[in-house]
Amino acid sequence: MERQITIGRYSLTHTDLVRFIVIVSLTLSSILITALSLARNAGAIYPQLFYFSILYATYFYPKRGIILAGLCGVVYECLVYFSLFPDTLALWSATGQAILFICVALAVAYFTNLIRVSEARYRSIFENSLLGIILFDKNRFTIRLANQQVATMLGYTVEEMGRIAFSDLFLSQDYRRRFFELLGSGEDITMFETCFATKKGKPHWVNLSWSRIDDTIVSCSITDTNAEKTARELAADSSTQYRQVTENSPTGIVITEHTTILFANPTFATFSGYDREECIGMNLADSIIDEDKSRFEVFANRWNLHMPQPDRAEFRFLTKNGEIRRAVLYFTPITRNNQPAGLVNIVDNTEWEEYRERVEQTKERRREMMRAVAHELRTPLQPVLGYLNLLLQDPHSFGITEETRQILERCAKSVDRERQIINQMLELSVLEGEETCLDYSVFSVSGMINAVIAGGGYTLKAEIAVDVPSDLLFEADRQKLSYVIDVLVANGVAYSKPPKKIWITYRDTPSHPFHRLAIQDNGVGITESQLDEIFKSDGGTGQARDSIGETGLSLAIAKKYVQLHGGYISVDSMVNIGSTFTIHIPKKRPDKTDHHET
């Protein structure tokens, strides 16, 4: 920045001031020389002297130069007029000379202006261009000029650029050699892709275009392609990885735009029966069987949302050879070439589904058989139980002796136990089969527990400590939960050692989503291996406990009841110290759909 000097209301730079002094001195000298030569009657011998100041002034300040030329003309005219009057010829010649001053000044001003405008234009292009521009010497490779763009791109300042050789900008010898070859060909080059090194030595991809300005100077424009090139390399890299992953994937993978297949891996090709080439461009919807098509459309429409979410659904596919296969589709939104696309994993579960169906059928058949068997067992049991009851109701009237009565009582007890086992088997078969609906109601827990204890007469068999808040309410199926409590208390009583003691405790943490009701005994405990067995409904229970027959299936039923509520039963047990069965019931009643799943 040049120093500013303020004189009056004019603000001048230092250079301006020097020029002003030069112009004034030259003009005054010219006037003085002309005046002296005229005074000595030598005539106006050096009018050309004025051109020095006029040309100098007009070159730097075109408008003021013209004014100066005018002034010089007037002064010259006046001097000649006073000295040479009435020499008409001399006067005409002086006037012509004065006019020539102005004409020369006008011409100079005009051309100067033209140069200025064109230079300004080029400068502005050079400085404001989004391209990097470098002018370099093609013999010595010194950088004559570099604009801010280049400097910023490579991390230098413009001044630093001036001290570097153009050839040193290349990242490696290879890039430099290629550049020399092209430059040596003598042709103007456009878009030569090469790699520069930044000030920190990092690679930076650029495209060079150059043209010769004259014998030595070459103008080179530089396009920054680094971001693009890096992205392309990355994409190529990840695309290779992608390919490797999908080629060997055991699941079918397709990439789709809407539902049109853009890519399919070998597994999908095998699954669908089409070649991989045939798959490309195929509509995924076309390979789905007609019955599932509308459902697929709904599923696929969700892919086109503004922000699609990962999604899954099962469909049946029609393969090329007419086979129907089931598969689960997992959709993941991805971006492909900046366009939204879908990555669809297709997991063939035909065999699995068939297997599952077979298992379901077997289970259903087993349930049906169990029901039929139980039904057939129950009916003949009725007369046995009924007659035994009748005889025991009034033994005297049937002439039954005390000994016979005792025998009959044992028979009745056995029949009753058999009845219970059959009933439990049936209850389980119902629970495992269709959905059982729960009769939800809100009730007092302590009320329910007391009713169960009173109903089972447990206080006669053991000491029972109930620690449940009296105002505690559950929303559940009261009858089924009563059964669960009854089973667990009976279980505790049956397996406790005298003095028998049962603790029923409510445990709660306010933020915990479950009510927890613990039923603890001081009994024989359960070993690790027995723990898995006690809730089972299909055999194996015989060995779990000494006399498991009394409660065997009831624990399995209790477990099912709690599961229907969306809860579970946990067991903590130590052999010879006791067991704690904890019922976990959700505080919030599960939605209908939820408890179907459980």
């Binding site: 039904h375 057939e376 007369p383 007659y387 009748l390």
Partner: protein, 121 residues
């Protein structure tokens, strides 16, 4: 005058048993081995209560119940479903009829008494 209880049941040993038990409970049992005959009988002489087996043919217990409820003079007769089938309780729940009770075979003498007295006091 003893109150009449109709037992519809296709299993003869159970009919025999019910005959004795109901008499013991001081009711007058009417034993009918199939649903169609039972329907004719109850139309002619409405009983105080019906003990109804479900798995019967030609007319099942459910069909019997349906037809029974269509008769205006039989609509109020209490019915106890007397069955060995495990799926009956769920179906009964859906029926939601306070005049229908259930007894699952086999029942004890006390259970039978309790179930009947629930309707007949």
């Amino acid at each position: 005058m003893k109150r009449k209880i109709v037992v519809v049941e296709d299993d003869q040993p159970i009919l025999d048993l019910m005959d004795i038990l109901l008499k013991k409970l001081d009711y007058e049992p009417v034993l009918i081995p199939n649903g169609l005959d039972a329907l004719t009988a109850v139309r002619a002489d409405p009983p105080a209560l019906i003990l109804l087996d479900i798995m019967m043919s030609p007319l099942s217990g459910w069909e019997f119940l349906e037809r029974l409820r269509m008769e205006c003079n039989l609509r109020e007769v209490p019915v106890i479903l007397f069955t060995a089938s495990p799926t009956v309780p769920e179906k009964m729940k859906k029926l939601n009829d306070p005049r229908v009770g259930i007894l699952q075979k086999p029942v004890t003498f006390d259970e039978l008494r309790a179930a009947i007295s629930q309707f007949l006091g």
